[in-house]
């Protein structure tokens, strides 16, 4: 144990020492247990603690007798420097136990640019980074989360991946671990034992072969127990699935400091660029009754002043209107505020938003994603210009003056006409504003246009698509910037191109880029998702030093016939569906929301899909 008294010598020297002390309300310390799991979030405390998945999985494990789950986050630079200088190993928040003494350490992979932090955290723990260099007594390292749907870039580091939803499977794995721990068997035998669990992927059980053109030829199974395809884990019924009745309440302010209820999982809309929309299928709702019950418990047990309903598209919940009405009443009684991110801005939403933000109107956010109807049809973002303008007009009438728009650039088939479409939208919005508002109320208007760079992701219809070249993206940003800055009331933000490029390389990388990752970390890369710390040169050096061509991964068009590095991971949506969606995209044909009729995405072949029929239909 790292003694708190000892840490106290150093804590006053670091920014926000409360990041490292634990002891928050509803955090859990167990004295008796058979298995210790440490949940590792590869970013700083304020980001990790805002993550709903961490709260769910932490409490799900701790709910079980015999299993103890602790937390660890990436220490900030100042703390890391002190830890390295004074040989303080990375420790868990709950009991200050060095990570080296954990049974299993589980990293959550939310963002490709946090991979260097995974490596850095293992190193700070004194645990060999490469799985082959770890000994029998070292902890097992696993990883899950959305990026685990393409696990290969981290396969030199991680012992096993958990694909899909972790509420139940983490417990199953820990139970098996506890059995194994007392059996005197080897780590290899443990991996064999869990290889039969749905969703578990063990990279060392497979060997990859490449073609002369560098593409993947085969993933050879090395052991009979390894499945041909690893199918994701899901919680079939959200009402039956574990949901915490309490959240850890941090002492310091974090990014999203609030109680959260997940109202539904998955999305029926089928945007072609969206990975979440595919990997979280089938869509499952939590019942209104259950949501209300959870809300009551969370208010009572956390004391939070804000409650938030979360999902990919909250308006799609079939009981949203009665739910929100009832929650608004409840929250008013308790003097807490209700927040509803991810609402579609239809008339009901405005009624709700007007009420919950009746006095203080914070900003509204729209995500048309593309500037023209043609391009929105390509990406299957089923929102029309009329929808946007209706919403904007409504917002102006009700008193909002601060509106944000999200667009992507570099989308498949994009031309400068589509960029002009973004400028058009901005101009039309200003026009609407002047129509709706009289002179007195015009000064406060602020329209913020934000573009991100489209990064093709595995398991989506665009997984074969080459990303735009970096200079092409920069040109597009310049083009928009020059034109948008001339429009009064409009501000323009855009994402860093090099960051997106690296994200694209890692997102669709294979096993060979594992050594580049290590090299980049050796060159000093960490916190790559942070603009102030990201250093592209270090990565370029790493690509050169390891002989990896990053453009092969980011800017190459793949053939449908090509074996993709994540093809042995089964997210449930069929490749045929993705191919047909990709084809339809280039024909500018839309696919309707699958609540209007099954679109044959294939999810009902392996899972029970309640949206429209199941596999027996």
């Amino acid at each position: 144990m790292v003694e708190l008294d000892y840490l106290e010598k150093y804590l006053p020297q670091v920014e926000k020492p409360a990041r490292y002390i634990g002891g928050e309300i509803n955090s859990i310390v167990k004295k008796e247990f058979q298995g210790r799991f440490i949940f590792a979030f590869p970013d700083i405390y304020e980001i990790g603690m805002s993550h709903l998945g961490m709260q769910i999985l932490y409490h799900a494990l701790n709910h079980e007798e015999g299993i103890f789950c602790e937390r660890v986050f990436a220490p900030a630079h100042d703390m890391e420097a002190i830890m390295r200088k004074n040989n303080i190993p990375l420790f868990s928040l709950e009991t200050k136990t060095p990570l080296k003494e954990a049974d299993i350490i589980g990293f959550t992979l939310q963002y490709e640019l946090s991979y260097s932090n995974v490596i850095n955290m293992l190193d700070l723990s004194g645990i060999p980074v490469l799985k082959d260099e770890r000994r029998e007594r070292d902890p097992l390292i696993c990883a899950g989360g959305p990026c685990a749907y393409n696990p290969e870039p981290l396969s030199d580091i991680i012992d096993f991946f958990i694909i899909g939803e972790g509420e139940s499977v983490n417990i199953e794995i820990m139970r098996k671990y506890i059995q194994w721990k007392n059996s005197g068997k080897t780590k290899f035998e443990f991996l064999e034992l869990i290889s039969e669990i749905k969703g578990v992927y063990i990279p060392s059980f497979y060997n990859e072969q490449y073609n002369l053109d560098m593409t993947l030829r085969n993933m050879d199974k090395l052991y009979a127990c390894a499945p041909d395809k690893v199918t994701k884990q899901i919680e079939p019924d959200l009402d039956a699935a574990f949901y915490p009745d309490k959240f850890i309440v941090p002492f310091i302010d974090i990014v999203h400091n609030r109680a959260m209820v997940e109202v539904l999982r998955g999305c029926t809309r089928g945007c072609r660029f969206c990975q979440a929309g595919m990997i979280y299928r089938p869509v499952r709702e939590r019942s209104v009754e259950k949501i209300k019950e959870i809300t009551d418990q969370l208010i009572r047990n956390t004391g939070y002043e804000e409650m938030s309903l979360l999902s990919l598209s909250t308006s799609d919940h079939s009981g949203i209107e009665p739910l929100v009405s009832s929650l608004m009443k409840k929250c008013k009684e308790e003097s807490i505020s209700l927040s509803l991110p991810s609402l579609r801005l239809d008339s009901f939403s405005f009624k709700v938003l007007d009420e919950i933000q009746s006095v203080k109107k914070s900003g509204l956010t729209f995500a048309p994603e593309a500037g023209t109807q043609r391009l929105r049809d390509v990406i299957n973002k089923n929102i029309t210009e009329d929808d946007i303008f209706f919403a904007v007009e409504n917002a102006f009438k009700l008193g909002w003056s601060n509106i944000k728009f999200y667009f992507m650039i570099g989308l498949p088939t994009e031309t400068y006409e589509d960029l002009d479409g973004i400028i058009d939208i901005a101009e039309k919005i200003i026009h609407i504003y002047y129509q709706v508002r009289d002179k007195k109320n015009r000064r406060k208007l602020s329209i913020n246009i934000s573009t991100s760079n489209f990064v093709p992701k595995p398991h989506t219809a665009f997984q074969w698509f080459p990303m735009d070249d970096m200079n092409v993206l920069s040109e597009k940003q310049k083009y928009l910037s020059e034109r948008l800055k001339k429009i009064k009331h409009v501000s323009f933000n855009y994402h860093d191109v090099q960051t997106s490029f690296l994200e694209a390389v890692l997102a669709r990388g294979d096993r060979r880029i594992g050594k580049t990752l290590i090299k980049a970390w050796e060159n000093g890369s960490k916190f790559d998702g942070w603009r102030e710390f990201f250093d592209f040169d270090k990565w370029q050096d790493a690509f050169n030093e390891t002989g990896i061509d990053p453009y092969f991964y980011s800017n190459r068009k793949r053939d449908y016939k090509e074996l993709l590095p994540w093809d042995h991971i089964d997210a449930g949506v069929s490749k045929e569906f993705l191919i047909s969606e990709n084809e339809k995209a280039f024909k500018e044909k839309v696919t309707a929301d699958c609540r209007k009729g099954c679109t044959n995405c294939g999810i009902n072949q392996s899972f029970n899909c309640k949206v429209y029929g199941d596999k027996n239909v």
Partner: protein, 223 residues
């Protein structure tokens, strides 16, 4: 708890009140705020054994019950010791606070007791003790004389390991001295080799003035 800033501590309390179902009154207006105020903010890094807070309640709850309900839900390191009903509204706590006393301890690090006592007496015999203070907003540097803000500064304990100093300083809106600033100034003036990371500061008491005498705040509402 000493690593929590004043603002964050206020959230800790607000949430604790909600968990304890002790309803505090909210201010009216654009963004309603709970009516709760601490007598004087505690700097990050300083512990305390006596803090004072004033709250407006929405409903009457017996004092004993407030104490037990809150202590059940407060994080380790914060305990409600006493609770008094304010029958007649006097000046608010922040307006009343005039002095604060702090216990400052640090490792001996080879310093002799008489040496420390002498340096303290040299320190206090100065007419002026000038410290430079960075202004938060303008980031300019300001010089202030802290001598008039020091009421008491004396060694109260020594053993083989450490020394303890008791410092009583002006606190509140009519003159305020941060004990950390005081100890840093003492280290600089005395040139004693005090190990920075061994320094621990505990707030012992806050006082208001009654007939020019310092009276602990907890005497305020005691009958």
């Amino acid at each position: 708890m000493k690593y929590i800033s004043h603002l964050d501590l206020m959230s800790v309390f607000q949430r604790a009140f909600r968990r304890a179902a002790v309803k505090i009154a909210y201010s009216q207006g654009f963004s309603p705020h709970p009516k709760l105020s601490m007598a004087h903010p505690l700097s990050v890094g300083i512990s305390s054994i006596s803090e004072y807070m004033e709250i407006d309640m929405e409903e009457g709850i017996p004092e004993k019950e407030i104490i037990s309900r809150l202590n059940e839900v407060l994080p380790l390191g914060i305990r409600i010791m006493e609770c008094h009903k304010i029958l007649e509204k006097k000046k608010s706590l922040p307006a009343l606070v005039a002095y604060g006393s702090y216990e400052v301890s640090f490792n001996r690090n080879g310093i002799q007791e008489h040496q420390l006592i002498n340096r303290i007496s040299d320190f206090l015999s100065k007419d002026r003790i000038i410290v430079t203070k960075k202004q938060v907003k303008s980031s300019s540097v300001k010089e202030i004389d802290i001598r008039p803000l020091i009421d008491e500064f004396k060694m109260i304990h020594s053993d083989n390991e450490a020394f303890k100093i008791m410092a009583t300083v002006k606190t509140g809106s009519n003159g305020n001295l941060n004990p950390e600033l005081l100890i840093q100034s003492f280290i600089k003036e005395s040139k004693l080799e005090i190990k920075q990371n061994s320094i621990k500061i505990i707030r012992i008491e806050l006082y208001f003035l009654k007939d020019h005498k310092q009276v602990p705040l907890n005497q305020l509402y005691k009958v």
